[in-house]
């Protein structure tokens, strides 16, 4: 993409602290009920990597991805994003960190009664003074960033539509635009395609891949489908019962590796199929 693109340009301007490196050292998460969702996970992700986290539901992959922006606090261990220790952040500094980490969700998590544009402007929360969002007066720059983000996922023409009126694939694109308008250095995706039909799922995965390739974002995507992990990501992390049981190039992961991650023989529902 050309240097004139403000999103890429702005992302390039980020300070080293905001780089997309993620480091986990012996991270454990125990929920208040006593459930241990992560057990001693250590890994290090370089800026610009495209990583999938694979496992069955309940394996801890959702927890893993939410520890990175502190939606789930870690119980012990150390977690660095760039050079910042996430567990030490709170209040303003935490919001600033979250402002640099985009996130998309299985259920899209849009405010369905408001316009697509308003939803995308949610991504500017951490980057603009609070009075602007309270009065509903985004700055011209924020608005332009939101427009570019919508344009880059190809739904700028729906900017004024109600988010609830869109199809599932369109909603996930709005969610991606919302995350992109944060001008993030890391993109987290929690089962982004699990609610979509196969062709739409592939196109959303391609959007994520393009974001990774063109903007150099670190992308961490939760998947439960082995073929998507193999096809779109370069590195794969396998989780089973909160423990990391696989870490290696996604393309090299054999069926046996997947069986070890799933803890059972491979079944038809582990594959999406119909690759474009």
């Amino acid at each position: 993409m050309t240097a004139s693109d403000p999103i890429t340009a702005a992302a390039g301007d980020l300070a080293p602290a905001a780089s997309g490196a993620i480091t986990l050292r012996d991270v454990t998460v125990t929920y208040p009920g006593g459930t241990r969702a992560l057990r001693g996970v250590s890994l290090s992700i370089a800026p610009g990597e495209m990583v999938s986290v694979v496992g069955l539901s309940g394996s801890g992959k959702s927890t893993l991805i939410r520890t990175i922006n502190a939606l789930v606090p870690i119980t012990s261990g150390r977690l660095l994003v760039g050079e910042q220790d996430v567990s030490r952040l709170s209040g303003r500094s935490l919001r600033e960190l979250r402002g640099r980490i985009g996130m998309i969700f299985q259920g899209f998590n849009l405010a369905e009664r408001t316009s697509v544009l308003s939803n995308v402007l949610v991504g500017r929360f951490a980057h603009s003074p609070a009075w602007r969002s309270l009065l509903g007066l985004p700055s011209a720059q924020d608005k332009q960033i939101a427009i570019e983000a919508l344009d880059s996922v190809g739904i700028l023409d729906r900017a004024w539509s109600r988010a609830g009126a869109l199809s599932g694939g369109q909603k996930q694109r709005v969610a991606i635009a919302r995350a992109l308008s944060q001008q993030p250095s890391v993109m987290l995706a929690d089962e982004p395609v699990a609610s979509l039909d196969p062709p739409t799922a592939h196109s959303v995965m391609q959007d994520l891949l393009r974001i990774n390739e063109e903007r150099g974002l670190t992308v961490l995507v939760n998947l439960h489908l082995m073929d998507l992990a193999r096809q779109y990501t370069t590195r794969m992390i396998g989780l089973r019962d909160g423990e990391m049981v696989f870490d290696g190039p996604a393309a090299d992961a054999t069926d046996q590796d997947f069986e070890a991650i799933y803890g059972r023989p491979i079944q038809g529902r582990d594959v999406l199929g119909s690759a474009p």
Binding site: S4, K143, I147, G154, D157, D207
Partner: protein
């Protein structure tokens, strides 16, 4: 992966050809704007009509604060026994009114439900409910007191009659919502109207109806105090009297009693209602099995 393999994506750099992307034109907002202007004009006209003196409005917070001190700084607890006696009178009015209201509204409401009574019964009943809903309880009490005098009994009667409007509506709405599947099954088995009511409608509707009955009691607790203000007796009458005497410390005590009793009854009645509705759920599941 090559660009050709991603047909859904726009070509990489059309932005360079078109210049910076811009928003499509915003859809017309004339309708909402006109509506907002009309609403604004109505509010302004209403405010002018009220002719409130804005200068005296500024003094009000100070004056209210002053009175709050008079009311609650040292509530007069000496008259508490009397207050509790009058409270029981209000609760009694509310309770008997609720019993009367429920006893009348359940049969009438069932008759007014679609699919139970014939249209010539249903429509007049619904009109009756609508009319009663529109007439304030106080007005009903004012008519009744020409018969039974300014007594708590009048209060109870007024509560019983005034509640029918809303209660009857709740009953027929509940019956209509439960009867869809259930009554067909009994009718298919050859049941008569009475049997449909007994074996299909009643079990499904009973929890909601009981819950509504308790809710009526909660509403009546508040309304009985209001009827007391016009002289039907109970805590409202006592409150009205001591307000007229300007014995603020006693009024403060009475207000505390009203608030505590009302919240207490809301709490008890609310938890019973929740138990009734929760108890109803597994039974419904049992029936469908």
């Amino acid at each position: 992966m090559s660009a050709a393999a991603r047909p859904q994506l726009r070509p990489p750099s059309p932005a360079a050809d078109r210049g910076a992307p811009s928003l499509p034109p915003r859809p017309s907002r004339t309708g909402p704007t006109v509506a907002a202007v009309i609403a604004g004009v109505i509010v302004v006209l209403a405010t002018i009509e009220l002719d409130i003196s804005w200068t005296s409005l500024g003094e009000i917070p100070g004056r209210v604060a002053n009175y709050l001190v008079l009311l609650f700084a040292e509530p007069n607890w000496e008259k508490l026994p009397r207050a509790l006696f009058e409270t029981w009178r209000s609760v009694s009015m509310a309770w008997l009114g609720a019993i009367g209201c429920v006893a009348l509204s359940i049969p009438l409401g069932i008759l007014a439900a679609r699919g139970v009574g014939p249209a010539w019964v249903r429509l007049p009943l619904r009109w009756l409910f609508a009319i009663i809903r529109a007439v304030p309880e106080v007005v009903i009490a004012l008519v009744l007191l020409t018969v039974t005098g300014l007594t708590p009994f009048t209060g109870a009667l007024a509560l019983g009659i005034a509640g029918i409007g809303t209660q009857g509506k709740w009953v027929y709405e509940t019956v209509e919502s439960v009867q869809e599947g259930a009554s067909e099954a009994v009718r298919a088995a050859g049941g008569s109207t009475a049997e449909v009511a007994r074996w299909a409608l009643w079990p499904a509707a009973a929890p909601s109806l009981m819950s509504f009955a308790l809710y009526r009691f909660e509403i009546n607790i508040r309304t009985s105090a209001v009827l007391g203000l016009i002289g039907a007796g109970g805590i409202g009458t006592m409150l009205s009297n001591y307000t007229n005497y300007r014995e603020w410390d006693t009024v403060g005590m009475l207000l505390i009693v009203v608030v505590v009793i009302t919240m207490l009854i809301d709490l008890i009645s609310g938890s019973i209602r929740r138990r009734i509705m929760e108890g109803a759920r597994p039974r419904v599941v049992d029936r469908t099995r």
